[in-house]
């Protein structure tokens, strides 16, 4: 059964130095608050997995938390580069960052296979693409029926998954809705997990019979962090703060402006910082 805790207790309990950590959220429900807590707790030597490393991974990389990044698209969506990621890859600042690069299809299949308890995933992929030449984790199998060669990749089995959900009920079940990404798979594929949520409710109430719900017994810890996905968005709660994504380009471009921002806005703050971004309840058609 999931354990309810504060965010700092939750990160303390689930993330260890050297862990392979998947903080997921495919442009929606990105666990920003949890990522900041990892920075505050100064975790080191992490292998970070994420399809679309964006601002939160830029911050973790820039603060020296990561030794390695496993990803498929590393940019500031709709804006441009992730300057801290680039600085680490191009210049080795603040440390050399090893990268393991895949396509989206590969990453999604790798999470799916991880959730399914398989050692690898197969898909029709990478044909004619150079990534297979530079990533030794991309191999192939031959279909025993048709002779077709299919791409094979190891499944993702992270030590920890960290995601942001919409609601938890008192029993610790977590409801997601909207752009689901690979969050359910990430949790099911991981040894440990932490879910931050917008809201804790007594009961989910009437709902679609096939609603996307992670049962309590598949989750490690739950922390109530309203606004915890800000500046990304939470379906039905708040919108994406687009202006911040644009502003980040300036903040992160130089090492000193980045460090100053992190000090002021992350290191000197705590999880309650996020509450101001939350909205109390579901607004129609948001």
């Amino acid at each position: 059964m999931a354990t309810f805790a504060s965010l700092s207790e939750g990160i303390e309990a689930v993330v260890r130095d050297g862990d392979t950590v998947a903080m997921e959220g495919f442009t929606h429900l990105i666990p920003f608050a949890a990522g900041h807590e990892v920075v505050r707790q100064k975790r080191k030597h992490l292998t970070l997995i994420r399809m679309t490393p964006d601002l939160i991974y830029d911050q973790l990389i820039g603060m020296g938390c990561a030794d390695k990044l496993v990803f498929s698209w590393g940019g500031n969506p709709g804006v441009g580069s992730l300057h801290r990621l680039r600085d680490a890859v191009e210049k080795g600042w603040p440390n050399k960052l090893e990268i393991e690069e895949h396509s989206h299809a590969a990453m999604a299949n790798a999470y799916e296979a991880g959730a399914a308890g398989l050692p690898c995933a197969i898909f029709r992929g990478y044909i004619g693409a150079d990534l297979a030449k530079v990533n030794p984790k991309i191999k192939s199998i031959v279909c025993p029926f048709t002779g077709e060669t299919l791409a094979a990749i190891p499944s993702h089995r992270p030590d920890v998954a960290i995601i942001h959900g919409l609601k938890a009920d008192r029993a610790g079940n977590v409801l997601l809705e909207g752009i689901l990404g690979v969050q359910k798979e990430a949790v099911l594929a991981s040894k440990r997990s932490l879910v931050t949520v917008e809201e804790i409710v007594d009961d989910f109430g009437p709902r679609n019979l096939n609603a996307c719900i992670l049962p309590s017994w598949t989750i490690g810890m739950i922390a109530h962090v309203p606004g915890g996905a800000f500046p990304s968005y939470a379906q039905g709660y708040y919108k994406r703060h687009n202006a911040f994504y644009i502003e980040w380009d300036k903040i992160a471009r130089e090492r000193d402006t980045f460090q100053a921002w992190m000090k002021a806005n992350v290191l000197k703050k705590n999880e309650s910082e996020y509450a101001k971004y939350a909205r109390p309840s579901r607004v129609a058609a948001e």
Partner: protein, 257 residues
């Protein structure tokens, strides 16, 4: 009668015109999104828009800033998880047209969005392929929208996604059954693959653009089709709808800030 327009506007309008009401599109952010929605708001009201974030048959009233924009999900028929999107919808062969673009393109419409320089010690680390390596081969055909310039190179530093490879029947030799890039739409002209060599060849030039301009902005020797058309300029209606869309988008994204 002809309205004035920007290079970006004619590029978007030309891309929109190439889309049919019956198409199922795999849409990326930026110009593809603008072109797809322009088509939907003009001649192709029932065109099907799919974004890789899982939103199926979405009808956004404003352009998304990212593929995960809530607007896409709120206006979709339904939204599926990302593994399903890549397995059932993209790999399943349900997409008629996929859009791609990149930092670099070569004359066979192979694309690079990975690195400038060497992979292990890149001069510029670009965002990476995202969905492109599989979009390029799973969609029935690919439209590329890219302004011409220094990204049009003789040789890519890295092949992120397959276009026509080394030309001729290279795709077929690799076992790929789809058409690959059938249109490269730029701010200057339209390229289409030569039927035999598959080299991207100019088939239509935008009004007022010269061959010199095209060559100056292309890193290889540009070839022209036997018959080269002049692109019809954007109509007042096309420009009005496109500009309204951008204005609505700007207001919406401002408000959300």
């Amino acid at each position: 009668m002809t309205a004035t327009y920007t290079p970006n506007e004619i590029m978007t309008v030309v891309a929109a015109r190439a889309l049919k009401n019956s198409d199922v599109l795999f849409v990326g952010i930026g110009a593809p999104s603008a072109a797809s929605n322009l088509a939907r708001l003009t001649h192709a009201p029932n065109i099907t828009l799919i974004y890789e974030s899982g939103t199926i048959e979405t009808k956004p009233s404003v352009l998304p800033l990212s593929i995960g924009d809530g607007e896409l999900c709120d206006t979709a028929l339904t939204t599926v998880a990302v593994p399903e999107m890549f397995r059932y919808w993209l790999q399943g062969g349900r997409i008629t047209v996929g859009f791609l673009g990149g930092a670099q393109i070569d004359k066979y419409a192979n694309l690079n969005t990975t690195v400038v320089g060497s992979y292990d010690a890149p001069k510029v680390r670009l965002p990476g392929g995202g969905g492109a390596p599989e979009i390029s081969n799973s969609c029935a055909e690919i439209f590329i929208i890219m302004p011409q310039g220094r990204g049009f190179v003789k040789k890519l530093d890295f092949i992120t996604s397959l276009g026509h490879g080394e030309g001729d029947d290279h795709r077929q030799r690799l076992g790929v059954k789809t058409k690959g890039p059938t249109r490269l739409i730029t701010d200057l002209c339209i390229f289409e693959p030569d039927p035999a060599t598959k080299e991207m060849t100019v088939t239509s030039i935008h009004p007022g653009v010269t061959c010199d301009q095209i060559q100056e902005n292309t890193g290889w020797t540009v070839r022209y089709a036997n018959t080269v058309a002049e692109t019809a300029p954007p109509t007042a209606k096309e420009l009005e709808v496109l500009r309204d869309l951008h204005a609505r988008t700007k207001r919406a994204h401002g408000e959300a800030a």
